[in-house]
Amino acid sequence: MNGLTFDIAHLLAGGLVLVSFMMLYQDRLFALINVFALHAIVLALSVAWQAYVQEAHHLYVTAAIALIFKAIVIPVGLHRIIQRLGIHRDIETAVGIGSTMLAGIGLVALSMVLMLRVTPEADPLAREDLAFALSIILLGLLVMVTRRNAVSQVVGFMSLENGLVLAATGAKGMPLVVEISVAFSILIAFIVIGVFLFRIRERFDSVDVGALDDYRGERR
Amino acid sequence: MALILELAVQGAQMMLVLLLAPLLTGFVRKVKARLQRRRGPSLIQPYRDLLRLMRKEVVLADTASWLFRVIPYLIFAATWVAAALIPTFATGLTFSWTADLIAIVALLGSARFFLALAGMDVGTSFGGIGASREVMIASLAEPAMLLIVFSLALVAGATQLSTVAAVMGSPELGLRVSLGMSLIALVMVALAENARIPVDNPSTHLELTMVHEAMVLEYSGRHLAMIEFAAFLKLLLYVSLISCVFIPWGLVTARSGPGAYALGVAVYIGKLAVAGILLAVFETAIAKMRVFRVPDFLGAALMLALLGTLLLFVSRSL
């Protein structure tokens, strides 16, 4: 493939990582959600680009899902939830931003090191893509573990999943990509509904653990 | 014919110890009395005591069981057999191989076992005191005795008394440290076993200090006679054991004519006399110790014996 296409794909993937970093930086929920919407849009772009490059037209479906579902539906839904639960003012990072950022950089470096060990004979685009995807996944996990709030953890999970989709689309001719993205969207929908259903304000398990343990007689 | 003769000699030996045992005790008492400037009872007083006891009726505690009445005979028999198996005037008699030194010690052990049981049978506190103190003393005296036996056996290469005596009598066996140690230990054990001063006082009935007497407190009449007799025999046994192991000279071997036998008996009686005098002097010289000093006394004996054995293990010539 010629340099330009490569560069564009590269750019988009890199942009995705950048946006992940931005998510790490946010400490307000609304801001976080907006950044995530951006994340989804960038993903949609890169997927579409892949579809174009690889002439794999089914990938456009994935791109569309990313755009409509993740960039629009979910963020709106999350806005609603936040207002319902009245937690839009929370500052809710469990770990300081700075250290989080440092950790993030470390993770990106790690994924680079890992992927650059891959023999260059492999498709370079795929290789770079993988490096970015891996870092996005790790960053998503990082978001999940550094945020206290259920909503932001959902967001983290979704960014993680974006990384997956990026990797999947980056892999030439990988079957089932669309199905997988659909499946994941359903999964996320479940999670969001769960958050909404169980009125989970604080953490995923806002359910008072202490009370539970008394019930179970688990704690002495 | 020869067999019958040998059996006769064996029987003679058994009778000899039976006859001499009270005499020895009487002799010791006499000498002690003399040393304390008393006239003291006559030599044959023990015989008289025995006879009188035998004629008396037995007063048996209500709570005494059949065991209580059997035990005196068992004790007497065990002690007698043990005493008869020790070469007194002659070695290598017909049945001398029936039991070696270890077995003889064990026989005395059974006698003590039953005596302690007798003490507990009636169910008074005295019996208990005596029994528990007795077994405590025994639990130290027996190991000491066995270790002494070890060192003798290591020197002689046998636990068979006749052989031991023969070896100890042989001139090429010079003076040995380990043997000296075991001699001292043996004397200490003998004192303890026979309830002599300083471990116990045979002629006291003060409850707090009694050991042997406390156990037999409930006995009377013929039963008491048996037990007293057993005590006499035991003293004789230890004396003749020491003499046959450490001063084996004058012991005649079996199947040497009657003249030799007579000589042997004479020598044996001489040895007994000497030992009796020594014992009397010793007992007069020192005082009885408290019951709970006894473990230290016997512990010392045990250590001496162990030391002797160790020395022998380390080098055969010490």
């Binding site: 890992l114 891959v118 993988l130 999970f157 079957p175 089932l176 398990d205 007689g217 688990e218 | -």
Partner: protein
């Protein structure tokens, strides 16, 4: 279509059809019966795989010596559990913990789960396998939450979240494997077909494979319940309906384990890639010892046995990690025995909890006095799970420990240590529950003894005598696993 394919198809289609029917059926008695019948038919279909000749491995489906072990075990335990569940839910309806609509949902989900697990076993396509595993997981999530109690929901939620992360990691691993295969095999589905991959694994890029394996091990390892990825397991076991606990411990863990094994073989086939063995050994030992210590403080009887499942999964993973014919054989045997025993234990525990009206260990005492049938079953089960002869697990533990000690003495010491610690804990709880002054309700219980006793009988038999064909077959599989 030849006959054998029908067998495979049957294994997959019967549960689907049954699920559809069950979703429609209102009457719970009928649906319970249908549930049993369907499971039985599936079992028959699975057994028919022995007699009929195997299908050629296609792009999606595969039947080989390895997965037949799993399929038959799966369908068998699925069948017995359905029998147990029939009597279990009857009681639940009486006490009103479950309602008829719940049950409709429950039965349908049960069959879907069976379908998912069977699919995971027969799938020859790593993507398909992933989908199947996740399907099975999600159905179990729904069933864990079925009681709608606070705790049940919380447990289900925990399970769901941790599971989803596991799902994601496993998927990434799968993608990486595809990426590694793609340059060699070429684009398209072929690069996901396991039989193709295993042939050419030697040519794959080792670095990619390594990363892939790490992700797969964590992703599927979460389902296997290896420490420290185990967090969902105890609560899910404790709060869900007992039949589901039985299936979770007895089957779902095996499904994930099966996936791990497949990828382990893949990695082992590539010489430059890191050896998967040490990694698995480490994880196994960690889980074993960790779970062993965790057993002591348990107050909830189902959670107790959930931790013992973690412990045994640790042993199995350890065995497969050690590799070699002896250890692999032991691992397979241990897996089968554990599934049978653990599900039997959960059958007993289910009835016990029902009759005593509590899961608190402290409130259950002297079972052998009040309910001899259940009590002694529990005693035998725990004795078996603790690895005492003459029951099957003893044989596998014998092989694992002795072979390990001969090869890696330093590994055997912690193994033995963990076994002893776990033994102490299990026995402590057992003496509390089965013996002593009886406590709690002494009401007679109408239990279905057949499933648990048949399991225990099988385990006891296997401890003393293994039929020769089974052995040769296991040995063959053990050599495949390398």
């Amino acid at each position: 279509m030849t006959a054998p394919f029908d067998a495979v198809a049957a294994i997959l289609l019967i549960p689907v059809g049954a699920a559809a029917l069950l979703a429609a059926l209102p009457n719970y008695k009928m649906s319970a019966g249908l549930n049993v019948a369907a499971s039985f038919l599936t079992l028959l279909a699975a057994l028919s795989l022995f007699v009929t000749d195997r299908p050629q491995p296609g792009q999606y489906l595969l039947v080989d010596d390895l997965n037949i072990v799993f399929i038959v075990l799966n369908t068998f335990v699925g069948f017995t559990t359905s029998v147990f569940s029939a009597s279990y839910i009857a009681h639940e309806l009486e006490t009103g913990r479950l309602t008829a609509p719940n049950l409709r949902f429950y039965h349908a989900m049960y069959q879907i789960m069976m379908f998912g697990m069977n699919l995971a076993f027969v799938s020859n396509n790593i993507g398909l396998m992933w989908v199947a595993v996740e399907l099975a997981t999600l159905t179990t999530v729904l069933m864990v939450g079925i009681y709608r109690t606070h705790e049940a929901l919380e447990a289900a939620w925990k399970y769901f979240i941790l599971g989803s992360v596991g799902i994601a990691l496993a998927l990434f691993g799968t993608i990486l494997v595809y990426m590694a295969a793609q340059p060699v095999v070429g684009e398209g589905t072929n690069a996901m077909v396991w039989t193709v991959l295993i042939e050419q694994a030697a040519l794959f890029d080792p670095a990619l494979l390594n990363v892939a394996f790490v992700f797969l091990l964590l992703g599927y390892g979460t389902k296997v319940g290896l420490a420290p990825l185990h967090a969902w397991l105890p609560d899910a076991h404790a709060e869900g309906p007992t039949p589901i606990s039985a299936v979770l411990s007895g089957l779902l863990l095996n499904v994930a384990l099966y996936a791990v094994l497949r990828f382990k073989m893949l990695l082992a086939a590539s010489p430059e890639a890191i050896a998967p063995g040490p990694l698995m050994v480490a994880m196994g030992l960690t889980s074993l010892i960790f779970a062993a210590f965790m057993l002591y403080r348990r107050r909830d009887i189902k959670r107790l046995f959930a931790y013992s499942s973690i412990e045994h999964m640790g042993i199995i993973v350890f065995a497969f990690g050690m590799g070699g014919p002896l250890a692999n054989f032991a691992g397979l045997l241990h897996m089968v025995m554990h599934s049978l025993t653990k599900s039997a234990i959960f059958f007993a525990v289910g009835h016990i909890a029902q009759v005593k009206g509590t899961q608190k260990i402290a409130d259950i005492r002297g079972l052998t006095e009040t309910h001899p049938g259940l009590g002694w079953a529990l005693v035998v089960g725990v004795v078996a799970i603790a690895g005492l002869p003459p029951l099957g697990i003893f044989m596998s533990e014998f092989l694992v420990v002795s072979s390990t000690f001969a090869r890696q003495p330093l590994l055997a010491i912690p193994l033995v240590f963990g076994l002893l610690i776990a033994f102490g804990a299990l026995l402590l709880r057992l003496t509390g529950v089965a013996f002593g002054e009886p406590r709690g309700s002494t009401a007679p219980v109408e239990a279905s003894y057949v499933p648990m006793y048949s399991h225990l009988a099988l385990v006891a038999g296997a401890g003393i005598y293994l039929p020769a064909p089974l052995v040769t077959w296991f040995q063959h599989v053990a050599t495949i696993l390398g």
